[in-house]
């Protein structure tokens, strides 16, 4: 094992895992990602999320999830994944004439 790997293993032994925090600002709205924190386990992560991210009345519910449990798209794929949508405005439903009885679509 080289020195760099050794150091990385040491720090993962001494550091609590990272958790992503999602806060619901009020009933009926979605939980929104608002940041991350370190905690030893799930109950501690919930408590610390409450202490770190809801101290100014930001929320009525929190979710936490281990950061390493999130599967994310590869930034290198950004070009082929997302750029092709730039010129496809016809995918927005704005080209239809709605009957007047249908409000606020």
């Amino acid at each position: 094992m080289n020195q760099k790997q050794n150091a990385a293993n040491q720090s993962s032994l001494n550091e609590w895992p990272l958790w992503e925090v999602f806060v619901r600002s009020k009933s009926g709205l979605d939980h929104k990602h608002c940041g991350s924190l370190h905690a030893a386990d799930a109950p501690m992560a919930i408590q610390l999320a409450r202490d770190v991210y809801t101290r100014r009345l930001e929320g009525c519910s929190v979710w936490v999830v281990r950061s390493d449990q999130i599967v994310a798209s590869d930034p290198a794929d950004k070009g082929m994944y997302f750029d092709p949508m730039e010129d496809k405005v016809y995918r927005h439903p704005t080209f239809y004439k709605l009957p007047s009885e249908v409000d606020h679509m």
């Binding site: 609590w16 924190l37 370190h38 905690a39 030893a40 109950p43 501690m44 408590q47 610390l48 409450r50 202490d51 770190v52 101290r55």
Partner: protein, 263 residues
């Protein structure tokens, strides 16, 4: 050049509220010493939140003391301009966090667990106080105390049932703190009067429910239930340890040097 001290009334109602308000005030100040020094950033914020909750409770109680006293004292004067003998916090709250600064984390969280449990039991009962103002303060504070209890008891279990080092520190903290718990449950004229006029419970009525919760907590934390001792601390009667003068010097310096100073 310094601001003169104020004298407070000795009426039992005033004294009963001062005991609560001063315990919250001094414990809040002790927890504030962790700000910027806690083991991890997240816990730093958690401890400061608890400290600020306690200062908030103290402000409400001291303001009520000022109203009941009728001498025109406001919360700042009561918090900062009394002589040591006129502070009525229980001794446990004024003990340093441990050797050096900011102190010992195990000691800090165990004291929080012991006092948060005690406060929660008190606030639950004070919700029915004959003083509607105090009942309203209790209604808000009991929610805060429930969280303080959960957060600190979690730590007691983690550390008590943790590593050899954490368990050793937790046992040492328990040995130091336990003998100061007797003061929390001794009744005298002050709480007898409060119970008689419906202001709040006699403190000895809290003993059994508190012990039951401690027994459960210590068992979960794999810590031994300490034996009772004959020692009785006397902070609530104004007779403090040698640590009290230092904490008051910290707290009072600004108000004494710059009378009436505000943010």
């Amino acid at each position: 050049m310094t601001t003169p001290s104020i004298q407070v009334q000795q009426a039992p109602t005033v004294q009963y509220l001062l005991r609560l308000g001063d315990t919250a005030l001094i414990l809040g100040q002790r927890l504030g010493e962790w700000c910027g020094h806690a083991p991890v950033l997240e816990e730093d914020i958690a401890l400061s939140n608890i400290a600020l909750d306690l200062i908030g409770q103290s402000r409400a109680l001291l303001s009520r003391v000022g109203q009941l006293e009728g001498l025109g004292h406001h919360e700042d004067q009561l918090a900062f301009l009394r002589e040591e003998r006129d502070y009525r916090n229980v001794t446990m709250a004024e003990l340093p966090n441990g050797p050096g600064r900011p102190g010992d984390f195990a000691f800090t969280v165990l004291r929080n667990a012991m006092l948060a449990t005690w406060f929660r039991l008190l606030w639950e009962r004070l919700g029915d106080s004959s003083d509607s103002e105090l009942a309203a303060i209790a209604g808000k504070a009991v929610k805060e105390a429930r969280y303080h209890q959960q957060h600190s008891c979690d730590w007691v279990v983690r550390l008590g049932d943790g590593t050899e080092e954490s368990a050793r520190r937790m046992r040492a903290a328990l040995d130091t703190l336990w003998r100061y718990s007797a003061e929390l449950f001794e009744s005298d004229d002050v709480d007898a009067a409060a119970a008689a006029n419906g202001l709040g419970p006699r403190w000895d009525a809290l003993r059994e429910p508190w012990l039951a919760e401690m027994r459960e907590l210590l068992a979960e934390a794999k810590l031994p239930m300490p034996a009772d001792t004959a020692f009785r601390s006397t902070g609530k009667r104004g007779v403090h340890t040698e640590h009290m003068g230092y904490i008051l010097a910290d707290m009072q310096y600004l108000q004494r040097a710059y009378p009436g100073g505000v943010w």
